[in-house]
Amino acid sequence: MIEVKNLKKEFEKTIKDPGLSGAIMSLIHKKTTTVKAVDGLTMHVDEGEILGFIGPNGAGKSTAIKMLTGILTPTSGTLKINGQIPYKNRKEYVKEIGVVFGQRTQLWWDLPLVETYSVLKEIYCIDEAKFKDRMDFLNEVLNLQEFIKSPVRTLSLGQRMRADIAASMLHSPKVLFLDEPTIGLDVVVKDNIRKAISKINKNDKTTIILTTHDLNDIETLCERIVMIDKGKMVYDGSLYHMKETYGKMREVIIALNNPEEIKNIKPDKKFGLTADDYDIAKKANSVSMKFNSAKVEIPDMLNYILGTVSVKDITVKDADIEEIIKKIYKSEVKPGEAV
């Protein structure tokens, strides 16, 4: 379905020194530098898959997505989606894809929502019967009817996002690109949107590429994730596999009877743990301790804690995906290398 080989995108960037003198200098002499936003990305996505595309800010996610959607022309590398080269046969290509950019809307600001859909109906040449079917389905999944007559500018962020997703799904695209579809939304709305995405994926067998900073999106939706950093791929594989490999960190939350006792907890000394494998932090009413369960067995750790301090309450938490990702960002895994 999606075939990407050694994809690269470089930008020229002007550097400006800070302050007034820097601004004046930039008038006389412009310094530029080449930024490699995407630096040799290779990946493959199957039909019907939901792929989580993650990475820290500025990793090159959006640039990659923009190349995949035909908005940007790659500097080099090959790109084939749905049998087409996005930036070459752009107009034909985009008929088969849907795009949602969470940070901006594709809806017409002053038009009632329903008008946006009738415009899109014409743009994508959707015939009347199919349009009606499709609207019914999207209505059911995304609950549009409550605000479909209102001008877009009056919608709340959550409503707008639902409307945007519907707009990108109206023409039953084979591939859907969602760039941060849950950004800035509250927990309930996020949950609804995830459910809707999942339903759309099941119903239409839509291939979905999802970028997000909210790892709950990934956990609920994606079987497979691709992580990039500084334009290079640092991980490609299932979420399960990632947890297995890196997920040995455990978090123990301890409520102490006497908060002063925190200084007595020193498992790093006892078990000989390095900073990579151990961390402790004081929270409002408790102590949060993280350690690598590959180095110290959980029962041993618990025994140690219970023997050292007086505990009111204690809980052990599973590997937090955020922790794993932090670790992958830190460790220097070479791109393409199996993890």
Partner: protein, 275 residues
């Protein structure tokens, strides 16, 4: 003295920011500038044709040279007194970021004003000085002697400074209209067109028939560019010069009073709306 230093420090930052902003958007400024220069040249050719058609050297009291000085000086003065106050304040009112100015320990209109000083410094050095030198060289070549008078330049600077403040407060008042109006854009264009007409930017006020000329001369619009240009061209002398300068000052105080009244009212309204 101490107070002055702290004022200098606070608002100096705004001036600085203004200069940087000007540099960042220099392209758009020079775009407008070149556009205006185009207009000046259209005028130049029209007047050349007009003087050729009359066969006289004088057109309603203006020689061809006068006319050229008038056209270029009016456009350049337009630049010197041009201010973005209307749109910057209107957009801040619209998106609510005006509150960010209110929570800082500075005076709202002064913060706008000093920000603009920054870009004015740049305009004076990059545009005003070269154009004036060019204009004086043109005058020298045409007349055969130096017509430039330092006293007139100084008077012009005094007058144009008042004009700028006047223009700033006029625009501020228009900006506050954003509290009422959905879209300030149309009114902004309307204001520009009205100023162009009443300030003599296209047609010198002297060309209008008797009563209209008198009325236009009293309106605040004439105080914007017409008065300083007339002063520089030595068309206003003695009593007339003093009278027109005083008129500028009177209008300035009237506008300051009006805008601060409007702002007090707007502040209350903001408080009522809860921001």
């Amino acid at each position: 003295m101490k107070q002055f230093k702290s004022v200098k420090r606070t608002y100096g930052a705004f001036v600085n920011a203004g200069i940087q902003d000007f540099i960042a958007y220099k392209a758009s400024f020079f775009g407008f500038f070149i556009g205006e220069i185009f207009m000046c040249f259209v005028m130049y050719f029209i007047w050349k044709a007009v003087y050729a058609s009359t066969g006289r050297t004088d057109f309603m009291g203006f020689t061809m040279l006068d006319m050229m000085v008038y056209v270029f000086l009016t456009h350049i003065s337009g630049f010197l007194i041009q201010t973005d106050a209307t749109f910057s304040i209107a957009s801040e009112i619209k998106d609510g970021s005006i509150i960010m100015r209110m929570i800082k320990p500075v005076n709202v209109d002064l913060s706008f004003l000093f920000f603009e000083f920054g870009s004015k410094i740049m305009i004076i050095t990059c545009v005003f000085v070269p154009v004036m030198i060019g204009l004086e060289i043109y005058r020298y070549i045409t007349l055969g002697y130096v017509a430039f008078k330092i006293t007139r330049l100084l008077l012009f600077i005094v007058s144009i400074s008042i004009s700028y403040l006047l223009s700033f407060y006029l625009n501020l008042i228009f900006g506050y209209l954003a509290f009422y109006l959905l879209n300030i854009w149309g009114f902004g264009v309307l204001k520009e067109e009205l100023i162009k007409f009443f300030s003599g930017a296209v047609i010198p006020i002297a060309f209008f028939p008797g009563v209209i000329k008198k009325v236009f001369g009293f309106l605040p619009f004439a105080s914007l560019t017409y008065t300083p240009v007339m002063i520089y061209m030595e068309k206003y002398n003695g009593i007339k010069l003093i009278f027109n300068l005083s008129l500028q000052i009177v209008w300035l105080f009237a506008f300051i009073a009006f805008s601060s009244g409007l702002w007090k009212w707007a502040e209350k309204r903001l408080a009522v709306q809860g921001g």
